[in-house]
């Protein structure tokens, strides 16, 4: 079980695009050399700013809800696991359904693989691999008290997609005046 005091915080404004998290992820013992994190460019023509994308571990995970093979499970401590190998049929429904664009279909294994918050480590009291190597603190794992003491931004975990609010286990660091983060997907697509 993951210590309920420990939480995962993402601060995209601190990301320097070094890709240390990408390489560290592949080193996690249960990931078998496959990295399950990726960096997104906010607007590559305008800025080199990147954003690390890890699974947000939704309270009501869309990926698991759309899985026809019942292959994605959520543990009692709120971590949405990667697809179970014996069950996953590689249909990519989860890839399309995730509002954060996290799951990736790995063709070599014909299986979806996604961030599981390094469950082998976090359930044993260790930090996820990415959080151990991030030099700028864009990915941080610790208690809320500790983060609030060190940062000016506030941790938020509610994201508004049209009429739907998605609440997540992973926290996003936002300016203090921000409440729920409005995600205008349509505008982004244009």
């Amino acid at each position: 079980m993951i210590d309920p005091q420990m939480e995962f915080f993402i601060d995209p404004s601190r990301c320097i695009g070094c890709q240390a998290c990408y390489h560290a992820c592949a080193e996690c013992e249960t990931h078998r050399g496959i990295s399950m994190i990726h960096l997104e460019y906010v607007d590559r023509t305008e800025s080199p700013q990147t954003v690390p994308v890890v699974c947000m571990h939704c309270e009501d995970p869309a990926c698991a809800k759309v899985c026809p093979a019942d292959a994605i499970k959520k543990t009692s401590d709120g971590v949405v696991q990667s697809a179970l190998k014996p069950r996953c049929i590689g249909c990519s429904n989860c890839v399309l359904a995730c509002p954060f664009g996290v799951p990736r279909y790995v063709m070599d294994f014909d299986q979806m693989m996604k961030c599981d918050m390094c469950y082998d480590r976090t359930s044993a009291g260790k930090r996820p691999m990415c959080a151990t190597v991030c030099p700028s603190g864009a990915l941080a794992y610790g208690s809320r008290d500790q983060i609030e003491r060190q940062r000016q931004m506030q941790a938020r975990n509610a994201f508004v997609f049209g009429p739907q609010i998605v609440r997540t286990k992973v926290q996003m660091m936002l300016p203090a005046e921000e409440g729920e983060l409005e995600m205008d997907v349509e505008a982004f697509m244009q």
């Binding site: 995970p61 809800k65 499970k73 543990t75 009692s76 696991q81 069950r87």
Partner: protein, 163 residues
């Protein structure tokens, strides 16, 4: 109307609620259990066969003297432990044989019958050959365990056990 459709109970998202066993998982466990049972049977029978045919070495012990045992005579000694009675028989002037005294049927002590040249168990009329301990008659299922006897001058030493 319930809050969620019934099929959702069969495919829960929470790991702790998921008790579904796939056909593949069930078949895999079935094959593994069968293989484990087969391997255990092979191991048990192999060990049993090795123990039956094997000769066991124990510390050598002097059990008698040739001068104290007449031809056709027998005497009890304990080998390899103090609670393992054995029977030493002098068949002729040069030959000595020894067997465990416990009948292989139900463990009664066997006795030497010089007139029939056999070892006799009075409990259920079991007979064993004095030459090699094989079953001649009666209910015993196996030959008697044989004690290896070595003659050193006038001394007789037990050097091991077969069976």
């Amino acid at each position: 109307m319930p809050d969620s459709p019934a099929w959702k109970d069969d495919f829960p998202i929470a790991w702790t609620d998921d008790h579904f066993v796939t056909r593949r998982e069930f078949t895999k466990s079935l094959v593994l259990v069968s293989c484990a049972t087969f391997a255990a049977n092979v191991a048990v029978s192999t060990l049993g066969a090795l123990q039956e045919s094997g000769q066991h070495r124990y510390p050598e012990t002097q059990v008698a003297n040739t001068t104290t045992l007449a031809v056709g005579g027998s005497r009890v000694f304990y080998y390899p432990g103090p609670h393992d009675p054995c029977l030493l028989v002098r068949i002729d002037s040069e030959s000595f044989v020894a067997f465990s005294q416990s009948c292989t049927h139900l463990g009664c002590p066997v006795h030497f019958q010089s007139e029939t040249r056999s070892l006799y168990c009075p409990c259920h009329e079991g007979f064993f050959s004095v030459e090699d301990g094989r079953v001649l008659a009666g209910p015993p299922p196996r030959p008697l365990a044989r004690i290896l006897i070595e003659k050193r001058g006038q001394e007789l030493w037990a050097t091991g056990k077969i069976g």
